[in-house]
Structure formats: C-alpha cells, structure tokens
C-alpha cells in the first residue's frame, strides 16, 4: 500500500519538475517584452475609457504615449493638464499645456423661437430623424431634440431641457471628451475653450441659409449680417456661408458683439449684469445669466428678404 503511494508521489513529482523545466524554457523562448511604463501610464490615466483621446480606451492611449515617446498629438481631455504632466513625468518628457475645453450646443431654436412645422413620429433618435428629413421645424440646421447627445455622454453632463427642447451642458461635469460632438448629426456641438467662471460668448446658431430664409424659420437665427465681425477688434469673428463664428481662442469676452447682434443670435453666459446706459435700449441685461433669449417676432422684415 505504502509503495503505491510512494510511486504515485514520486511519479507526480517527476512530472511536475519536468514540466516546470519545460515551461521555464518555453517562457524564456516566447517572452514578450512589455514596457513597464505602459502600465504606469495607464494607472496615471483616469480610466474612464471614454474614447475622448481618439483611442479605444485608456490602455490603447497609454500604449500610444509610450510607443510615440512624445505627447504632441496626444491629450487626455478627461484628465486634463494634470494627468498629462503625470504621464510626461513617467516618460521623462515635458507635456505641452493645453487649455481646458467644454462642450457648447450652438442652437437656440427653442419652441418659441422656432415654430414647429410638422411632427416627427419615428423612433427617438436624431440619427434616424436626420437621415429621413431635415427636421420638424423650418430650420434644416437646428437641433432635432431627440437627445442622441444625452445618450452618448458617459459623464452625465448633458441633458435635455424639457421647456426649451434643447440639450444643456453641465460645465462642472463636462470633460470635453467629444462624444456628443460625434453623436450630433447636425454638428451643433463644439468644444470651446473653458473660461474663468465658465463665462461664454458664442454664436448659438448653425443656420447657413440666407438672412431672410433663416429668420423666417427661427427668430434667433444668425443672418450673417456681419455687424459682429465689424465690431470685433480682435479678429475673433469670421463670417462664412451666411453664418458668424466666434473663435474661442481669440475672443476676449468683451461682449461688444452681443449688443450689436440684431437677432440675439450671440449668447453671453455667466456674466454679471450690464450697467444700463441711459437712453439706450439694453439688448440683454437680465439679472440672471441668460439661458433663453427674449422672444422676438417671427415675422421677417421685408428689407431682410
């Protein structure tokens, strides 16, 4: 009986030792060298796997950082400069500082500004609505209101406002990963430079129709009159295809363009109330930050058509 146990134990031990030796040599032969820095970089990243950097998850981004050896085109929008300097320390290089950005929805076509011309009865998806037709209002460039951007956000930073029917970005939560930018079939969402106190000035319109047509479909449409372009001393405003655009990198937040805009298409956000100048009609001097602009008549002026 004992001999059977002895033989069994011996045989198994010999098989174990032999296997260990074979495995050792096989492991040596097929050894894959992995840069230990990849793991370190991955740990330094936020781990959100949002794809905002353009790579399939944080691991892929870490591999790209290590294999490239430089961070010129690589940036993690979620972690921002702090994370990137951490990554740069691991790689022994210096990271270039980038301005933090935030998503901005460039449409102010609320229900009262932009009357509905039809009713969309299909599935609640902007992607489907936009492949079928131009939209449920006269503006083919505006928000469809089905909330693909809300679904795309991994950070709970964008929500539909049931009153206006438009999405609103929570600046605190937004990490500028760009998921909503890719989700919007009308390309309404832009990543703009984050400013102190979350102040923003932007043209809240993407309508490229001629002035009269644009105004007919939406009361707060940009009509491309170029008044703001003339007013801006910093060359931050450009007009292309009947549409003004404010470059957030050049804008100094002086707010002069806001007052000259005849259709209130330029929005100022999170600014203190203006000092009301006597005998001048304040275009926008609300006490609270402006979220919805003052409605004006939807009738186009004959001179504009």
């Amino acid at each position: 009986m004992t001999t059977i146990i002895l033989y069994t134990v011996l045989t198994l031990s010999i098989i174990g030792v032999l296997s260990a030796i074979i495995l050792y040599f096989v492991a040596q032969k097929f050894k894959v060298y992995e840069d230990p820095r990849i793991g370190q970089v991955e740990t330094a990243l936020p781990g959100a796997n949002c794809g905002g950097c353009g790579f399939a998850g944080c691991r892929a981004f870490a591999e790209a950082c290590v294999s490239k050896g430089e961070l010129a085109d690589l940036f993690c929008p979620v972690g921002g400069n702090d994370t990137m300097s951490g990554v740069a320390d691991i790689l022994g290089i210096v990271a270039e500082k980038k301005d933090p950005r935030v998503a901005v929805v460039r449409c102010n076509g609320t229900c009262e500004h932009r009357p509905k011309t039809n009713f969309f009865d299909g599935p609640v998806s902007c992607a489907i609505a936009s492949t079928l037709y131009s939209g449920d209002t006269g503006c083919q460039y505006g928000c469809l209101g089905c909330g693909d951007c809300v679904v795309s956000c991994d950070f709970d930073a964008i929500h539909m406002n049931p009153v206006t029917g438009l999405p609103e970005v929570d600046d605190e939560k937004c990490v500028a990963c760009g998921a909503c930018v890719r989700a919007c079939p009308k390309t309404l969402i832009e990543l703009r430079k984050k400013r102190p106190k979350d102040r923003k000035i932007y043209v809240s319109c993407r309508n490229q129709d001629k002035g009269g047509v644009a105004r007919k479909s939406c009361a707060v449409a940009c009509i491309g009159c170029s008044k703001c372009e003339k007013e801006c001393k910093f060359d931050a405003i450009t007009i292309a295809n009947n549409l003004a655009f404010i470059d957030s990198d050049k804008c100094t937040l002086c707010r002069k363009c806001v007052s000259v805009c005849p259709t209130n298409a330029i929005i100022e956000y999170n600014f203190p109330p203006r000092k009301v100048v006597v005998a001048e009609q304040p275009v926008s001097a609300p006490e609270k930050p402006i979220e919805v602009m003052v409605p004006i008549s939807t009738e186009p002026k004959s001179s504009e058509i």
């Binding site: 009865d121 599935p123 489907i128 492949t131 079928l132 037709y133 131009s134 083919q140």
Partner: protein, 443 residues
C-alpha cells in the same frame, strides 16, 4: 396553385380605393418646380437660365453621367429661376422654377392618341431614344432605365419581366394603366424586348386585379413570346428580386443585380413611358399618380406634369380632409411622410396617401419578445430583430456581415412586429451608415 416567391411576405389590407377610377388629366399648374435630381445617380445639370422660353418636352437639364437621366420641361413658359427648392426630405435641392404660359408642345412630339404599333428601329436606336427621353424606373426606385437595358459585359439578358404586381396597398396607377393602355403596353414590351435582344417576356400581375389579367392576357395571346402570369397576392411581390423568384424561380444572389440571373424587370408605368418615348417622341415629363386615403373625398388616379405641387393634387382629389394625420409619398408600406405639401411631384412619386390621424400615429414600442415573426416574414431571409439591435448599438461592421445591404426596405418586419418595434427605421439607418462605410473603403 398560383406562383409566388418562397420565403417571407405579408398580406396587408389592400384598400385599393381608386381601382375603378379612370385616369384623369389634371389641370395645368400655374408654376412648376422641376428638381434636377429625380433619379438614382448623379443629378442632371441645368442647361436653361432665367428668362428662357420653354416648350413642353424641351430638354432643361442634361444627364451628367452614365447613371443619370435627362430632365425635360413639363410645361411651356418662362424660366423664373434656377435655384434650390423643397424636396421630399426637406433638404433644399437644385431645380428649375417655370412660370406656365399656354400649353405649347415641342413639334416633334406626336400628341395623337392613335396606337402606333409598327416598330422600325433597331436596338441601339431604341436605347438612344429611351436615354434621351430621360426615362427612369417609375415604380419608385427611379433607376435610369437605359442603364438597366445595357447589361454589363459578360452578362446576357434572357428574359424580360414586366412588373404589373403593384403590391403596395392603396396604389392603383399601374392597374389603371393596364386597363386603359394595354395595347400601348404590349408595344412597349416589344420595344424593350428588341432593345434587350431577348425573345421572351412575361408580365406578372397579382391575382387581386382579375380585370387587368384578363385584358393583358387577351392582348398577349396574339403574341407568341409574351405571356401573362397571375401571381398569388403577397407583399412585397413587386420587389424586383421577389418578382424574379416568383416568375422564373431564380434567386438573385446577395449583392448582385437581377441581370446576374439573366432577368431584367421593368414596371408598367416605365413600359408605357418607353412606348411614348420611342413611338411618339415624347420625353418623360408626366406620370400617373394615385391620390388616395380612407378620408379622401375622391380617391383618384391623375395624370400630372412633373413639378406640380402635392397640394394641387390633394385639392383635385377633394381637398385635405380635416383629421389628416400624415401625408405619405408612395404607399403605406414603403412610403415616407411628406413634411409639407408644397413639394413637387417627381418621376418617383407613384402615389399620395392621406392617412387619418388615428391610423397615422404609431403605437407604443414594447421590448422584443423574440417571437421571430420578423424573421419569418422577411422576404430577403434576413433577421430584422438582430439588424435593429446592431444598428441601435452602432456595430456597423457586424451589421455589414449580417447582410444589411440586402434589405429591400419593404417594411414587412415593422408591419408584423407585435411589439411595434421600429425595425425598419433602424435598419434604414444601418444601411445609410454601412453604405457610407463601404464607399469610404473605395479608393
């Protein structure tokens, strides 16, 4: 046992309300808007400018490639402007606005109603006439007919199929065409046979049109090589691939054209347009449109000039009913809703269906219960529930391997789904995305 296609298919209520109404010619509109892109392929290029005087049938936009079609003026008058205008999709499309003055036709067009049955042209001449006349498939797909009639090298057409199925509920324009213009259609079939160089033609008609079957059979009996086959009523038998399967028993392989099994399919209205173009020198500038719906006062079949607005057609059929919920371009199964009624009739408008409010509303969507009804009704043998899920999750690559591009968008899956799931909506989205993906791979 009547012939039909093998897999899938549904049988929606037929509702052919206007089947007994003879084709009426609609009064001339005051202005027309003729889009330059009314077909699949490259839009035509406008060759007229503001102020030009036009005659009916005059070429106004020239085909800009092989897969493209000429556009002719449907009215006589003055060009008001060449500008973007409304389109079914709501996105502005380039087109030509014409103010109508009188009704002066191009002298070359034979306006008499006499039947001209002797054919004294050869294949190439017929093809050239079809191409010049700007004829496209009038069943709704608007594929340029001359392209269809010129098989690619190495392929040979063996049989011509004429699609008289009209399987879409409500629509009756082809039915009326067969009853009223049967003689002309037979000449059209002979012209197409000559153009294709085939010696056999079959007209497939669904069994719910016995009068059309009787009429066409009687006419075809005089010709040895033209036959009429009554088909079992089943949607979507009017689909090209389904019709080929039903009539010849051949199956078009995935991703291939019907010509790969030696078949060419043309629809009834297209065949009539071919007759008019070749025998009467008349380009394609008018078509028969069914205006119908349960609440419409006079469901009718109108012969209208291209460019007439939908609102004028609705007015002629007794006006817009009060409880109108949806106006659909085409039939209830495949048609798309109009966003407004100031949209012009184009070559692909086969019908205008007005749905009352309570029928137009979609019911609430429920979760999929895996009943597999969509799979059993899909005439292309696809799995619609899977395609929808993949499209919802944006897995475009897998969607492609699941053959989403084979979908003919017949809507049988959405029609049959007990959970009211928007299957076709998501599959259509998937087709758009996968189509873009395939195009992006080409250098």
């Amino acid at each position: 046992m009547l012939k039909t296609f093998k897999i899938g298919g549904v049988h929606p209520a037929e509702n052919k309300l206007s089947a007994s109404k003879a084709i009426e010619v609609l009064a001339l509109p005051k202005t027309v808007f003729i889009p330059v892109g009314q077909h699949i392929g490259a839009p035509a290029e406008a060759i007229v400018k503001k102020g030009d005087k036009l005659m009916v049938g005059q070429l106004i936009a020239k085909s800009s490639g092989f897969v493209s079609a000429n556009i002719h003026s449907s009215v006589s008058g003055t060009v008001k402007k060449v500008e973007t205008g409304p389109d079914t999709s709501g996105y502005p499309k380039m087109g030509i606005y014409i103010d109508v003055e009188d009704d002066i036709w191009d002298e070359q067009i034979d306006r008499s109603a006499d039947l001209k049955s002797e054919i004294n042209l050869d294949s190439a001449a017929i093809l050239a006439k079809i191409q010049n006349a700007g004829i496209v498939g009038l069943g709704g797909a608007t594929f340029p007919t001359h392209v269809k009639l010129m098989p690619p090298k190495g392929m040979k057409a063996e049989v011509l199929l004429i699609n008289g199925v009209e399987c879409e509920p409500y629509l009756t324009s082809d039915h009326r065409m067969m009853l009223e213009h049967g003689e002309e259609l037979i000449v059209g079939v002979k012209l197409l046979m000559l153009a294709l160089n085939v010696d056999k033609a079959t007209i497939g008609i669904e069994n719910n049109k016995p009068d059309a079957i009787a009429k066409m059979s009687g006419l075809a009996a005089r010709h040895k090589n033209i036959s009429v086959i009554p088909l079992k009523v089943k949607y979507p038998q009017g689909g090209e691939k389904q019709l080929i399967k039903a009539v010849t028993g051949r199956e078009v392989p995935s991703g291939a054209l019907p010509i790969s099994v030696g078949a060419v399919v043309t629809n009834i209205a297209t065949t009539f347009a071919v007759y008019e173009a070749v025998q009467k020198n008349k380009p394609l500038f008018e078509r028969v449109v069914t205006v119908t719906g349960k609440t419409v006062k006079n469901p009718s079949n109108f012969k209208v000039r291209i460019g007439t607005t939908v609102s004028e057609l609705i007015e002629a059929a007794g006006g817009l009913p009060e409880n109108c919920g949806k106006i659909i371009n085409g039939g209830p199964m495949m048609g798309k809703a109009f966003a407004n009624t100031e949209i012009p009739v184009s070559k692909g408008t086969s019908g205008i269906l007005i749905m009352p409010e309570k029928e137009a509303k979609r019911s609430e969507t429920m979760p999929c219960i895996r009943c597999s009804r969509c799979v059993s009704v899909c005439p292309m043998g696809l799995e619609p529930f899977l395609l929808m899920t993949l499209s919802e999750r944006q897995v475009w690559e897998q969607l492609e391997t699941e053959k989403v591009m084979d979908c003919i968008e017949c809507g049988s899956c959405s029609y049959t789904c007990p959970a009211n799931r928007p299957l076709l909506d998501f599959i259509r989205l998937g087709k758009v995305k996968v189509g873009a993906l395939i195009r992006s791979r080409k250098p």
